[in-house]
């Protein structure tokens, strides 16, 4: 296995799928000649040319809709959102059209499209550019939502998403692009959508997270082990819809305590759904109420030192774990 960055793993997945299937192409703003606003597609235009790596004007509704229409005829567009926050100008296309066309056609039309890009805050770009819409997208039956945290996962999940026959919203993070990790080089390295991964085993409490918050949870878990001898189990959801309910419940039943961590806002966040699921299906196993941490419930603040504490950090996770376990700091 090679040690490469999250960005490189993503690029490798794209390149391998472009090579593997002539119907796969990438489209988005600055993806080709500029090499990608966050360099995810760097070098792909030079390697694959205009047909497979398409620079689009700033018209998200136009080119997402175009991608959806092209997917009806069997193409597999991978559409880059420079920021996932930009999907809102294409909401009718990305959400209304992509989620309903198979259903309303009685199963006659498929929409094998991937819409990918960074969806994270914490980078001082202000409220309009810091959205994490995975909870909203996951609210639409017909859509799938994936939020990988590590280089290996981003590769295996991207390859599965491109090969999937349903629309997949693939949410990355600008804060993860530079992270390194071991990544399998197998061209058919596929991670199933809907399969969580236990990133750290533990017996005292289950921390459930996705995307960048998985790393926050792992960091807090290490510190809690060192400081308080607490063994946290960290469940990385990886995929929001489909969702690995079995792994979540198994872990909760083992540790009997749970803290949900996400960068979303609390109201109708991913945690709200999982919390409901746990109380309904593992109520008798709980030794404490389900707690959750989300971003502070206000638009993303610009001020750099204040934004740092608006999104969940390890310190806050540790504080909340100690609360649940009634450990004095």
């Amino acid at each position: 296995m090679a040690i490469i960055t999250y960005r490189q793993a993503l690029k490798d997945a794209l390149a391998e799928e472009i090579e593997r299937d002539e119907n796969v192409f990438i489209m988005g703003e600055e993806v080709a000649q500029y090499n990608g606003a966050y360099k995810v597609t760097e070098g792909l235009w030079k390697r694959f040319g205009d047909k497979r790596v398409v620079d689009a004007p700033i018209s998200e509704a136009g080119f997402i809709g175009l991608g959806i229409g092209a997917s009806f005829l069997g193409l597999r567009p991978v559409i880059e959102m420079m920021f996932f926050s930009f999907v809102y100008v294409a909401w009718d296309q990305a959400v209304n059209n992509a989620s309903t066309v198979r259903y309303m056609s009685g199963g006659k039309v498929n929409c094998p499209i991937v819409i990918r890009g960074p969806a994270n805050g914490g980078t001082n770009v202000g409220a309009t550019h810091s959205h994490t819409p995975e909870n909203m997208i996951a609210n639409f039956p017909g859509l799938k939502v994936v939020c990988p945290a590590t280089p290996a996962d981003v590769k295996g999940l991207m390859k599965s998403s491109i090969r999937d026959n349903d629309p997949v919203f693939f949410m990355e993070s600008t804060l993860l692009y530079g992270n390194e990790g071991e990544v399998p080089e197998d061209e058919d390295y596929l991670i199933p959508l809907g399969k969580a991964d236990i990133k750290r085993e533990g017996s005292d409490i289950t921390l459930i997270a996705h995307g960048g918050c998985v790393l926050t949870a792992l960091k807090a878990a290490e510190k809690l082990k060192k400081d308080n001898n607490v063994d946290c189990e960290v469940v990385d959801l990886r995929s929001i819809r489909p969702l690995d309910k079995a792994t979540i419940l198994k872990s909760v039943k083992k540790t009997n305590r749970v803290l949900l961590i996400e960068e979303n806002k609390p109201f109708c966040g991913i945690g709200a759904q999982i919390s409901h699921m746990i109380q309904r299906e593992a109520f008798d196993y709980l030794d404490a109420p389900v707690h959750r941490i989300s971003s502070v419930d206000s638009p993303a603040i610009y001020s750099p030192p204040i934004e740092k504490i608006q999104v969940p950090d390890a310190r806050l996770v540790m504080r909340e774990v100690r609360n649940i376990l009634q450990i004095k700091a």
């Binding site: 509704a61 809709g65 193409l75 198979r102 199963g107 809907g194 399969k195 690995d244």
Partner: protein
């Protein structure tokens, strides 16, 4: 309520709507029309009558409470769907908005499946999951049936983009109403279509009103016409008298050949008229137009009557034959109602199929986990 006569009504400003007899014969001489066989001409007539009888029957069924929701009738606009689709080839595709019954029948969908869909029945073209606004038949090159104004316009570009990507010589016609041209996504689609040389043809079916709002009240520059907006995107455009099937065919064919030969988009604005309201819920459609205006179109510019007269003059049709075609279409529509009436509703568990390809086709995806989140089901 306006008291203007059709001749002075604002609606007609900026629209050239006179259809002289000479026009009919000029367009009749167009190669695409000269090549028409008598059978093809009669088929166009029959299919326009079938659309009208289907919708009249649907309207009656709606009034009897046989269906819910909306019913956007196409009556008055039939020559647009029939004329445009009649020049298409096997590699061409169409997509439209919610006034879609005419297009569905035009590409050969059956009255039975269309009527059953209105009735919400399992035998409907979308198994009762789509309804009036969402007919689909990809095998006949028909990609819906889309409910949101202008929402289909980038999809149409995408269909044509896919043809070009695959190296297939073909085109996609994307229909839209006059109300759709003020939506941003339509302009994004035009820009992309021209920028990337996409063989898509946007057919604006200008029936005068976006729901209850005339162009005078919705367009900043109505005198220029709607198709002229294509000029801003370096796209060829033309206007068409929608009551003249020969003209519809001739001008559509020019756009189709442009798509085939130059891989360039086109915009056609077809002047047409709907006799009923925006939808069945638009009971007040005489608030924004006069009875006289409606009658004017019915008497002078009815696409079926105009085509009937042409075919009678050409000697291909007579009064008896018209009656026969009329009767057959009525009976076909009546049978469709019987079929729809007697068909079952979808079983409740059908609510959960056709949502995800991966769920309906187990073993074909690398998917695990839960994808539906129902704590309990009502059935």
């Amino acid at each position: 309520m306006s008291t203007e006569t059709p001749e002075t009504h604002d609606f007609n400003k900026g629209r050239s709507r006179t259809l002289e007899k000479a026009d009919i014969f000029d367009y009749a001489k167009d190669p695409v029309n000269k090549a028409m066989t008598v059978e093809e001409k009669l088929k166009c007539f029959t299919d326009m009558v079938r659309i009208r009888k289907f919708e009249q029957a649907a309207l009656q069924s709606y009034q009897k409470g046989k269906m819910g929701g909306f019913l956007h009738l196409y009556i008055g606009q039939e020559a647009t769907a029939i004329g445009t689709t009649s020049v298409l080839g096997d590699n061409d595709h169409i997509i439209t908005a919610y006034r879609d019954h005419g297009h569905a029948l035009a590409v050969g969908m059956e009255m039975n499946e269309c009527m059953a869909e209105l009735f919400g029945k399992y035998t409907g073209c979308s198994k009762g999951k789509g309804g009036s606004m969402h007919y689909f038949d990809p095998e006949k090159g028909f990609w819906g049936g889309h409910g949101i104004v202008a929402g289909q316009t980038p999809l149409g570009a995408g269909l044509a983009f896919a043809l070009k990507y695959k190296g297939i010589k073909g085109c996609a016609i994307c229909y839209l109403g006059d109300g759709a041209i003020n939506q941003g996504v339509f302009h994004e689609s035009l820009n992309l279509a021209s920028l990337w040389d996409i063989p898509v043809i946007y057919v604006i079916e200008n029936n005068g009103y976006s729901m209850g709002t005339s162009q005078q009240r919705s367009s900043a520059f109505p005198e220029a016409g709607l198709a002229a907006r294509a000029n801003s995107y370096k796209i060829n455009f033309d206007t068409v008298h929608g009551e003249n099937l020969y003209e519809v065919r001739a001008k559509t064919n020019i756009a189709v050949q442009r798509a085939y030969e130059e891989c360039r988009p086109s915009v056609l604005e077809i002047f047409t008229y709907r006799y009923y309201g925006h939808s069945i819920a638009d009971a007040n459609h005489q608030r924004y137009r006069t009875k006289e205006e409606i009658r004017h179109y019915q008497e002078n510019k009815d696409p079926i009557n105009v085509w009937e007269q042409i075919l009678i003059e050409e000697g291909h049709l007579n009064v008896d034959k018209v009656k026969e075609i009329d009767k057959a279409a009525k009976e076909e529509a009546k049978a469709a109602i019987k079929f729809a009436d007697e068909s079952p509703f979808p079983p409740p568990q059908e609510m959960l199929s056709d949502v995800y390809h991966s769920v309906d086709n187990p073993g074909t995806h690398t998917n695990e986990g839960e994808i539906f989140f129902n704590d309990q089901l009502p059935f």
